[in-house]
Symmetry: C2
Subunit: 499 residues, 2 copies
């Protein structure tokens, strides 16, 4: 058995090295690559992905997994080997179920669709994009059909990003959440609006970056095993074990963009940097799911980074870096950075409204996959939901249905993980508050090491060893629940807006 | 035949994509990678190289080459297909002749040796390094033996870097060259020394970089298909067709380091950027040899960049950037940057002495490979030759036999290409001077496009389609000759030192 396990690990190591190399190429593409490199880079990435897929789905991997299946049952279920075998068997079953011709067609179609989407968004013209979206929806239905039987055709898509979760349970969570979030936003809208005018001004880009670096260093981001660069859209990427890089975007006329995006990405990066070294070069050196990953970024960005104790500590430092803020008191600053204002654009929305953007997309993509909504009807359906949930009407497709790249990129089933991350962040925070002594006091002292180490112990070090639901139960002693999140929102905004 | 050719091209494209991906990983390692990424990066690079080697030496590639051999004879010998088949057949025969166990042992041994060499050089202690060098010399002899029969055991090593050249002909060239270069240096030493004191001072790093960028932009370096970064040792790397990056090192107390290294690397980069797009994703998108590559860097750095017409144009601009130079006249500046001063260190040596450093290494490594010199005797032999050729005695091993990484990295046969590049640069320059109207006048006007396009037409666009000797004959109508180089040195230094 040992020999077979070693052989399997060697094969998997090679696959992961190819994924790691692709991550280096992808990071470079978004931060460094000159425009002339695009064509060759696309070929290189195509080759790496093709080889990784071919090696992973090889008959030898399948035979090794089969012959190790009984062995797996004898192992300690928490051991690395047992978890690796479980994850590999699951991924192998999924990947080998989809014909490689379909995989290639989805890749080709989405590459072309992304290109057209960019132009369509620039021209704010959905009709340019709709034939490509129609093709992609049809391909997604074909993809989903590979996993029959299922309770719902959206289940296999969701499962790619949130292993073990199904459409019905997400729907239930969201349906419980939506009316209460809508109600909160209506109540907030009835109160006098707050000002975040102090965020506009002239803020030196270098100083913004330095302040953000100082903050995430205190969180525990390890610069020996990472770096920060600038890119058009902020992201975190693991280029190999011990090399977890983040990027940010700096707006010299606006103070919050770089700062909160740095905290957000650092949250993702702490997860990746906190994984146990024994998981290196295996698919276990990854997040448990996109939702769990997002919980970490949201926890550091919002629950920590937009809290009053946090700014009790950091506001004096921020004023040192930017003396034009010297007249702002802690309360006004805290209220300003937590201003609630429904927005047409998901990525610009605040904590209280964000999930509604997600639910809108979740409902629409389910309807597309079910076939109960045609692509041609999508803009109208989008605008109607936007009006119902957020009281806003997009003036054009660019600020409506064309705003996100996800569908063009073939990422159906991805959106819900953003909202699940928000819910989970609150649930995790509730546990941390119970288990750690005076967490708000620690934060007010600029002390984050206990929180970080607790997260590492409970979540980070395990990587993808556990299904998200198992991880949550181990950690919280309960299933994923929206209650901590609703309580968090109501408490926070109740106080801020005097509800 | 077409079908077989297409299949072969597809296989080779994949191999080249893996090499390209490895180039991205290597560039990143030297410019961006945080220290924590080293272990995973080594694994990723190992996997990419192993797969590239395995795919290239596969029986399928061999069978395709065999079955296309007759077809190749019917093709226009200048066509891409004919050249590709010739280069592939040659590389396949070489690569499959060496057992993969030996390849792996050389890789392992040199990785360890490089590590020890760094420590040995820091401690200036050759005895630390000598057991590793002994092992490497022995492995190099084993490697060479794979190519028996040969006229000389050094021939197969040389051939890896300078295809088609043999030990005897290099020895003949060097033996004709050495006494005349030694004589020139002795004559120079008898004249009053020149001053380059103006190169020392306080030179803002950013301004140095900007000045260098301005110069190489005028050469024609295409920033849409490249970029410049800083690294410990300057280098040029092609990360993929259309993505040719250079690096430099800036010394804020010394003006010439970044400037001349930028021109040197831009010379390499113009070669890579000038290759025909039809060669993309094949091994033909490469230099004809290391010597030809070095000829391009030396031509731009030395023959152009250290010429009087060049500085007639650029010195006023340099004085604008660095007003502390305002008192220096063109003649004094020109003589200063061409000061000849024998140095213990190859990479710090001037145009007149550089080749002697190379010949010394060439003679020693031949003796090691022949077995006529023991590793234990190497430092003494080094010092004796240093004294004979350059009149200098190293004070310790660090500034003597331990100064270069090449032997530790297993690069035997590499050194001569540096000197061949110098010779070739002068020979190419002579042709350019004959074929282009008033080249010195163009340079004095800051005009480089005719020269660059001529080089592209004669050399760059062909990539590795021709053997170096064929390329030289097509271009110069003659074989490689040291005469243009000797004439260039004698004319230039005769005038500068008043010989």
């Amino acid at each position: 058995m040992n020999e077979k396990m070693n052989r399997l690990r060697r094969l998997i190591n090679q696959v992961q090295d190819l994924h790691g190399a692709a991550a280096v190429l992808g990071w470079d593409q978004q931060t460094c690559m000159p425009p002339g490199g695009a064509a060759a880079r696309a070929e290189q990435l195509g080759t790496l992905q093709e080889l990784a897929h071919k090696f992973f789905t090889s008959p030898e991997v399948g035979a090794l997994l089969d012959s190790l299946a009984d062995h797996a049952k004898e192992l300690d279920p928490d051991s690395d080997d047992a978890c690796l075998l479980r994850v590999l068997a699951r991924n192998y079953a999924k990947k080998t179920r989809v014909p490689s011709s379909l995989v290639a067609e989805i890749a080709r179609t989405s590459a072309a669709a992304e290109h057209v989407w960019e132009q369509a968004r620039a021209a704010s013209d959905f009709t340019m994009f709709s034939p490509h979206l129609e093709k992609l929806v049809s391909l997604m239905r074909d993809y989903s059909a590979c996993f029959k039987p299922f309770a719902h055709p959206y289940d296999p898509l969701l499962d790619d990003y949130e292993s073990g979760l199904n459409t019905e349970s997400v729907r239930k969570v969201f349906e419980g959440l939506r009316p209460r979030q809508v109600e909160l936003i209506r109540k907030i809208a009835s109160r006098p609006q707050l000002s975040d005018e102090f965020m506009n001004g002239d803020f030196d880009a270098q100083k913004q970056l330095e302040f953000g670096s100082m903050v995430i260093s205190k969180f525990g981001y390890d610069w020996q095993r990472g770096r920060q660069d600038r890119s058009a859209h902020p992201f975190t990427s693991t280029l190999g074990f011990g090399d977890v890089r983040i990027t940010t975007r700096v707006m010299p006329r606006r103070l919050d963009s770089a700062l909160f995006s740095s905290m957000h990405e650092a949250g993702h990066a702490l997860y990746e940097q906190g994984m146990s070294q024994s998981l290196m070069r295996t698919p276990l050196a990854d997040g448990a799911s996109l939702g769990v990953h997002e919980s970490q970024s949201r926890l550091w960005e919002n629950i920590v980074g937009r809290s009053k104790p946090f700014w009790k500590h950091f506001l004096p430092h921020l004023k040192e870096a930017f003396p034009q803020l010297s007249g702002i008191g802690l309360d006004d600053f805290y209220r300003g950075i937590n201003k609630v204002q429904p927005s047409l654009i998901r990525v610009e929305s605040d904590e209280a409204t964000y999930n509604l953007h997600v639910m809108l997309r979740f409902e629409l993509e389910i309807a597309l996959i079910e076939g109960t909504l045609n692509v041609a009807e999508l803009p109208e359906a989008w605008n109607a939901k936007m009006s119902e949930y957020l009281g806003l009407e997009p003036g054009n497709d660019a600020e409506g249905v064309l705003q996100d790249v996800h569908w063009a990129a073939g990422l159906f089933g991805y959106f819900p993980t953003y909202a699940l991350g928000n819910l989970l962040a609150s649930q995790i925070w509730q546990c941390a508050g119970r288990e750690l002594h005076n967490l708000p006091g620690q934060i007010a002292n600029g002390e984050f090491s206990e929180l970080r180490e607790w997260l590492r112990e409970k979540i980070h070090r395990h990587g993808a060893k556990y299904e998200p639901s198992v991880l949550v139960r181990r950690l919280a002693g309960a299933d994923l629940s929206p209650e901590p999140y609703l309580r968090y929102l109501n408490d926070k905004y109740g106080e801020i807006y005097g509800l």
